[in-house]
Point group: C2
Chain length 584, copies 2
């Protein structure tokens, strides 16, 4: 058959990978490193040369490896876990990513690399490696300790932020510049897309999977999962985002399915096969000459990764209220880079905006920091003892006071319940508004095409616009009403808290009612202005607008209860899917 050279490549990759991983396992090093070394051995830059013939096909398979890696990361992600991670994870992850991007950028500038290389270096250093950390904590049997749980929380937040970084970098790479307006617009659009995709996905996909799972055929379930995965990736690519984002999102959506355990089971061997090819393909690209030429930057970057992550994550954990020892452990556990860095480096290469040396440098730094990880984790406790002995007493007292102060300002009892309620209401309002905005965005996006389609019936462009805009408004009504009701509840709550009888005396009830009515109305007006701004391209003339708003108001008034019922049913479906989940 004609694909013998391809089979030969696969045979060589799998054979060498198999041998090297066994060796690495015996040396108690992560399998991932073994794959990279295997790729290095069979690569074109080291003897024996020419073991791989069909490098293009291998690279295509390696991209499948990236998709499956991110898909499985998404499967392990789960929104519930994100909701559960505490302040520590958010603060530490933000601090780490900001600091590391900055440090990376500055290092690049120091070595006189160009702006893109510096920027990508920053992104490469930003995200720690889930694979490596899980492996190390497993080996050290520390997986169930508190600091390990904190680390997993940080990793979850990092995944989401990493996805954002990839989307941002793609945009920046295409436009070639970094403007804050663009960054905000990209982040906004991305958040909007993610929220909409997650809401619709969680409403549809788990139901679909449950239907297919009824047939009790592993094969059919697998093919459906793969179809959804690749199909969603394709959709995301058509929307000009990265495939990586699509794979992660659809994984996160499927993580809410009841078939999660089964799906993980079925997809894991496929991921293992393709990710092995991916990591071997990384090794293939390493040229020892580049490593020698860039030995100095590699050393600097390695030190920067270890110290930068240790300090930023440790500080973040401390600021969020953990004690010094735990904070240090969190910081030292996260001190490495891994698969995310490879994906970002690969992105730079395929977009052709980074230099050739960046990839091997990233791989080298990842290899070194990976090797260091277990030692760093084990060194955390002795180091915190040493630090405790060295740090002068007054400084230590300040740190202690900070912890006490933090605990004192944290809402307790009724206050904490209230804070949680407000958070929940704001989240719900946010999601509803995101859906409304998405509806108008979609309308604006398709307006021209729909216009052409309609032109036989409605010739006047203004009238076309009016119809589309009106339809969008009608579709948004359930979400707008829901948002309005939530906002009203929030303002009543706020009025109750802020207007005390001691202050307003006998006017208390009236003032409270005014506040409770005014705030939601004001917010609604702001929302309308926002929508008008966003959908400016398809905004009809003023007369039409007035007419539509009046009609919409009438519809809303008449169908108020029905809209609420529809929305409630969707909300229940969503919460059921999120809640009905077997513990895995």
């Amino acid at each position: 058959m004609h694909a013998i050279s391809f089979i030969q490549d696969l045979a060589v990759i799998m054979l060498i990978a198999g041998v090297v991983t066994v060796v690495f396992h015996r040396l108690k090093q992560p399998v991932v490193l073994g794959y990279i070394v295997a790729g290095f051995i069979i690569g074109p830059h080291t003897p024996p040369f020419g073991l791989i013939h069909d490098e293009d096909t291998i690279k295509t398979l390696a991209e499948l490896g990236v998709i499956f890696l991110m898909f499985c990361l998404g499967l392990e992600f789960s929104l519930r876990k994100l909701f559960k991670v505490g302040a520590t994870a958010f603060i530490a992850a933000f601090l780490e990513i900001m600091l590391m991007i900055w440090i990376g950028y500055e290092i690049g500038q120091f070595f006189a690399w160009n702006t893109m290389d510096s920027l990508f270096l920053g992104a490469i250093l930003a995200i720690s490696s889930t694979t490596i950390i899980v492996k190390a904590l497993n080996d050290l049997k520390m997986k169930n300790q508190r600091f390990a749980q904190l680390i997993f929380g940080v990793l979850i937040v990092e995944d989401i932020l990493g996805i954002g970084i990839i989307a941002l970098l793609s945009g920046i790479a295409v436009s070639g510049t970094v403007s804050s307006g663009e960054v905000i617009s990209t982040v906004g659009k991305l958040s909007l897309f993610m929220i909409v995709a997650l809401v619709i996905g969680i409403l549809v996909v788990p139901r679909l999977l449950a239907y297919v799972a009824k047939f009790e055929s592993n094969e059919m379930l697998l093919i459906t999962v793969l179809g959804l995965c690749f199909g969603f990736c394709l959709l995301v690519v058509k929307l000009e985002y990265s495939m990586v984002l699509g794979a992660f999102l659809i994984g996160a959506i499927m993580a809410e399915s009841r078939q999660l355990a089964k799906i993980e089971h079925l997809v894991e061997p496929i991921r293992d096969m393709f990710s092995a090819i991916f990591f071997v393909a990384i090794g293939l690209m390493i040229d020892p000459k580049i490593l020698l030429d860039y030995a100095w930057p590699i050393a600097v970057i390695t030190v920067a990764v270890v110290l930068g992550k240790m300090i930023s994550c440790g500080l973040g954990a401390f600021i969020a209220g953990n004690d010094g020892k735990t904070s240090l452990r969190v910081g030292m556990g996260l001190s490495q880079i891994g698969e995310f860095s490879f994906i970002i480096a690969a992105l730079g290469m395929t977009l052709q905006v980074t230099s050739d040396f960046l990839y091997p440098v990233a791989v080298a730094v990842s290899a070194i920091t990976t090797l260091l990880t277990p030692y760093l984790i084990r060194a955390a406790d002795p180091l915190s003892h040493t630090l405790g002995a060295i740090v002068p007493a007054p400084v230590a007292r300040v740190f202690g006071l900070y912890g006490e102060w933090l605990r004192s300002i944290q809402p307790q009892g009724q206050g904490a319940v209230l804070a949680a309620m407000i958070r929940k209401i704001l989240l719900q309002v946010g999601i509803n508004l995101a859906l409304v905005i998405a509806i108008f965005f979609t309308g604006a996006f398709f307006a021209e095409r729909i216009g052409v389609y309609f032109s036989d019936w409605v010739s006047d462009v203004g009238q076309q616009k009016a119809w589309i805009w009106g339809a969008a408004l009608l579709l948004s009504l359930p979400f707008l009403i829901a948002a309005y009701r939530k906002l009203k509840a929030l303002s009543m709550l706020l009025a109750e808290i802020s207007v005390k009888p001691e202050m307003a005396g006998r006017h208390t009830a009236r003032v409270r009612r005014v506040i409770a009515e005014v705030i939601p109305l004001l917010s609604l007006m702001v929302i309308f202005l926002l929508i008008a701004l966003l959908s400016s391209s398809m905004l009809p003339t003023r007369e039409w607008l007035m007419l539509i708003v009046v009609v919409a108001a009438a519809v809303a008034a008449v169908l108020w209860r029905w809209f609420i019922r529809v929305h409630t049913r969707m909300q229940i479906a969503l919460l059921e899917t999120l809640g009905n989940h077997p513990e895995s």
Copy 2:
């Protein structure tokens, strides 16, 4: 990233395959048919056109599908099952394959197709489809009935014979002619290769897998399995056999591993993914125009498959001593063609010896016979009743008498034990001789290369040959000695049976001893002649030969016990692997 068209192809394939398989499952039809229909829908010959962009990559993945299909077939095969299947399976499978190849060839000639097309058509019709039969019997809940067990036995023998057919066809396709000498030589070489590969494989591979499994990492086990699978396929390809053969053999070898259940578990999702691509790729190639043009041959071939397989398998089962009802059920259960036919048709296409229409015709016949299978199985009992009523009483009595006669001639009690012993001894002698022949073959194959390597030390070509031949003889000694001892045991057994005291009187003991000594010696001489013939290219001069034989005889005499011990240890290792298997 650059492989977007490829991802798009995968997305389209998986999405359509997912939808169509769900529909087919609801229609209670095999998923395989669904894949083919999905391929037909997205194919270039039917609207919507142009859904698939990167057909080459899809075909490469489809070949991976063939490899994984055959590998999993090998995993389910297992030598023990082959040893256990009774005469029914062998007789029915032989009869079926011979008849179907002949019928297929004649049909091809009838439609004035060329010789190669006719021959491949015969081969395409020869093997029934395990996938379809298992599915149908599952659906009908008949999997545990006696006739189903007989069918599974036939399928196992068919697999082995099918592998032989593929090897033969490859040889014939390259040389362009069919000579009986060539067929015998191909079958001989193939059997030799399979025996050697199985013996060495079963000695080495399960041990290796057990070692890797100790690390309790699914990933490492999977990568090792894939490495061995592709590596072995590559070796087989280098020996100019088909990759399909390699995948099946290494599967059969791994079937003897204790990790079988785990391996099946890990490989199944990968097989499902790639075999889906394989079957979809089959559908891609169907051009409805060809189907219309060849409607008449398709109808004839379909009838031939159903009737031919029904009669040949039914008759085979009956000859082997089953009652009419069971025989009919066996025959009607096997009345279809499937994956093996696709593989053979694909072989013809990639070797470029068959016409373009053969593949779609095979697919069409397979689709129709697949649809018929469940109805045929259900129709078997009514048909046997009808036949019982129609067939005239004398004919029925003849059939009944045949069954009785067969039971009367079957060895009973001591006779049966004796027959089993003789069979076992002959099998052991055969395996040992196969290994000896393989050693000399390998020697002859590498003789020239080794000669060049040795030329610095030993310049005389005759002397070189003597050394290589001598080394081969030395390596063969343990197996020769084992064969000799088994033959001696056999001749003693035969002498005991054939020379009765009533006949030979007081000479009984002496005659027996003579027979017991003469037969093994004669056999050994025949073996030596055979070896000399096979290794003629590297046979040394007569003086050298004499010297070597004398030396070998001396070595054999001195190390006799040691050789026996080595051989016994190997045999124990082999039997342990074959015996120590968890029931799956």
